[in-house]
């Protein structure tokens, strides 16, 4: 069943008990009594599968911590099962905290996969990995490609199955920060962007609803063909240059969540990925230039 088929009253009562939600290979049980979380899920996750599942990879909860504090400066906290890994945040960061918390669950636990810190999208059967240094414009680019017919596989964690070396989609809302929120609003005025959380440790944060096609295709794995290191620079004309594979290997490994944890398996999976991919640097300043470059890459 799709989450949109639940009425808002049903959604709230499910959430109070625990709402089953499928995102890629993971099943979450999400619990919350916060209206903003119910609203956030209803709007950002409307096309996702929900249901009563017997087994969940992660039991998570976002709620007010117990205590007097809830009366004068309300806060929220995140639970994985009965463990609270973070310090409480201001109450209006609840949906952002749920997203971060879910990422933390995956990045810290899902060691069946090699997990890279990178966005990944697919078009014409070719997956393109975008490892991004902070400030490189990775999320803006991911959102723009997602809204231009590309299939979103993941905007934050690229997960590679240890059994077959393929990329497993981990479709979730795309996280947008600061200026990129307005850039994407201007780029696609009809796209749904959720409420903004201001003054978080990452600045202003908002989330873009992923397109239904990407959500419905979340069981279809993809093979990586390209690794592109994007770089946004004011006024730059689009330029692409080959990126040495040796350096790309080190970059990917250094930015992976569990490269060293997987030991020789991490090395083998990364080596196989690099064998499969062309590696390039791409500098740009205008989104249409970037879209044209990526379109050409996969034709």
């Amino acid at each position: 069943m799709r989450l949109a088929e639940l009425s808002s009253a049903e959604l709230e009562s499910h959430l109070a008990q625990g709402l089953g939600l499928v995102t890629g290979p993971f099943r979450f049980l999400i619990q919350s009594r916060l209206p903003r979380v119910a609203h956030g899920l209803a709007t950002l996750y409307c096309d996702f599968e929900t249901g009563d599942f017997d087994f969940h990879d992660f039991h998570v909860r976002v709620d007010k911590p117990f205590g007097l504090r809830s009366w004068f400066r309300p806060q929220i906290n995140f639970w994985l099962d009965d463990f609270t890994p973070f310090i409480p945040l201001p109450a209006d960061h609840d949906m952002a905290q749920l997203e971060w918390g879910m990422n933390w669950c995956i990045a810290g636990h899902a060691h069946h996969y090699l997990m890279l810190h990178a966005a990944v999208l697919e078009r014409n059967g070719q997956a393109v990995i975008l490892p991004g240094d902070p400030g490189a414009g990775k999320s803006t680019l991911t959102a723009a490609l997602t809204l231009s017919g590309w299939r979103l596989l993941s905007d934050e964690i690229t997960i590679i199955d240890r059994d077959d070396g393929l990329i497993v989609p981990l479709v979730r809302p795309v996280s947008l920060k600061n200026a990129s929120i307005d850039i994407i609003r201007a780029f696609a005025p009809t796209a749904y962007i959720g409420d903004t959380a201001k003054d978080t440790h990452k600045g202003t944060v908002s989330h873009l609803r992923p397109p239904i096609d990407s959500v419905l295709a979340m069981n279809r794995k993809a093979r990586a063909r390209h690794i592109v290191f994007p770089r946004w620079r004011a006024g730059a004309d689009p330029v692409s240059k080959p990126h040495a594979k040796s350096d790309a290997f080190l970059h990917v490994a250094n930015h992976a969540f569990n490269y060293s944890l997987l030991g020789s398996l991490g090395f083998d999976l990364t080596a196989r990925l690099l064998d499969d991919c062309d590696c390039q640097n791409f500098e740009y300043s205008r989104l249409p230039d970037a879209l044209a470059f990526f379109e050409k890459l996969v034709t």
Partner: protein, 361 residues
């Protein structure tokens, strides 16, 4: 929920039940195993018995992830032991590796899938100064900056203040005894050192004998009050003991050794709970029992302590039991004339830190 009835405990005792568990039961088992630090252990048992292909895919993925984490740690521990050996072998003294690192270092089945947070070593008290100096030269530093804490460890405890390696960030506890110097129960660490066995390929690192590994594990469990991984430590004991059960006269020899080291009481409580929770009976292990009033009370408290790792095993009594066990662990550690000033100091220091934090905010 009674611990003896947990699927988690049943799976540790008899891994072959795993393929028969339904998904809803796995949902709870995986959460409990994760909270108890036993996910890797369950994964290791499943892998060892060839059960992985017979488990539901998401379940195996969760166990496999726990196992990957533990395997990585084991690799790091082997590396760390080699470096410790290098740093200390010039001193010409025996250095015993304790607990988790000892199981990993000696390749004991109890090591499979086990997680740990630090490496514990035991050295003769007379060499403590040399050991600390050699470790500092090799990059281990004491991280406790408060002079009171430094004095607390050095004057009263059975170990140096915890050390951390400046490059690798690994944690090391250097013990000179199994129990605090100020404690109610005294033991003889020199006997444990005398009976220890060399670790193959290393020059000065050794491990306690099988019996002493069991006794130290039981002592640590019953005295240190780290109840978050109480069930994990009890499952260590289960592995340590079951791997020895075939030996002729094992039970009576263990009891005799406990008498000699004055560690009968912790062994008694450990054996009681191995029987109550893991259904393990050890023939011939006759250990002097505590009084008939204290025994049921302690058993009740300890059962609560073992269950404190996960919400599904806690009861309204758990908080009370945890507090009582906390008080007990301090009571065993120090006589009242040292304990009361210590707890007062800690309480005021915490309050002072809290006030400073609030004012700063």
């Amino acid at each position: 929920m009674r611990l003896a009835e947990l699927d988690l405990v049943h799976a540790l005792i008899d891994p072959d039940i795993m393929p028969g568990l339904g998904m809803a039961r796995w949902d709870l088992l995986v959460r409990q195993a994760r909270a108890a630090g036993l996910l890797g252990k369950v994964g290791a048992l499943a892998l060892d018995r060839g059960l992985a292909p017979h488990l539901p895919v998401p379940v195996w993925h969760a166990l496999e992830a726990g196992l990957a984490f533990a395997d990585r740690q084991a690799l790091a521990v082997h590396h760390e032991l080699r470096l410790l050996d290098l740093a200390l072998s010039g001193l010409g003294i025996p250095v015993l590796v304790l607990k988790g690192a000892a199981y990993v270092g000696s390749g004991h089945p109890a090591a499979a899938g086990r997680l740990m947070s630090d490496i514990d070593i035991l050295v003769p008290k007379s060499s403590l100064g040399q050991v600390e100096a050699a470790l500092m030269l090799a990059g281990w530093v004491s991280t406790l900056r408060d002079p009171y804490d430094q004095r607390y460890y050095r004057q009263w405890m059975h170990e140096l203040p915890p050390m951390t390696h400046i490059r690798r960030g690994t944690n090391l506890d250097v013990h000179h005894n199994l129990l605090p110097e100020t404690g109610r129960i005294r033991t003889q660490p020199n006997k444990v050192i005398e009976d220890s066995l060399p670790l193959p390929g290393l020059r000065c690192l050794r491990v306690p004998s099988q019996q002493d590994l069991i006794l130290h594990s039981a002592t640590h469990l019953m005295h240190e009050g780290e109840w978050d991984h109480g069930l994990r430590d009890l499952s260590d004991l289960y592995s340590l003991i079951t791997s020895q059960l075939g030996e002729e006269g094992f039970g009576s020899a263990l009891a005799e050794r406990a008498r000699r080291l004055n560690l009968e009481r912790p062994l008694f409580y450990a054996l009681i709970h191995l029987q109550r929770i893991f259904g393990l009976k050890i023939a011939g292990a006759c250990v002097a029992a505590p009084g008939s009033l204290i025994q049921p009370l302690m058993n009740g408290l300890l059962e609560q302590g073992f269950g404190s790792f996960h919400a599904s095993c806690r009861s309204p009594l758990t908080v009370f039991a945890q507090f009582s066990l906390f008080v007990r662990s301090h009571w065993l550690r120090m006589p009242p004339h040292l304990l009361i000033p210590h707890l007062l100091y800690k309480a005021f220091k915490k309050e002072k830190a809290r006030v400073e934090e609030t004012t700063a905010a």
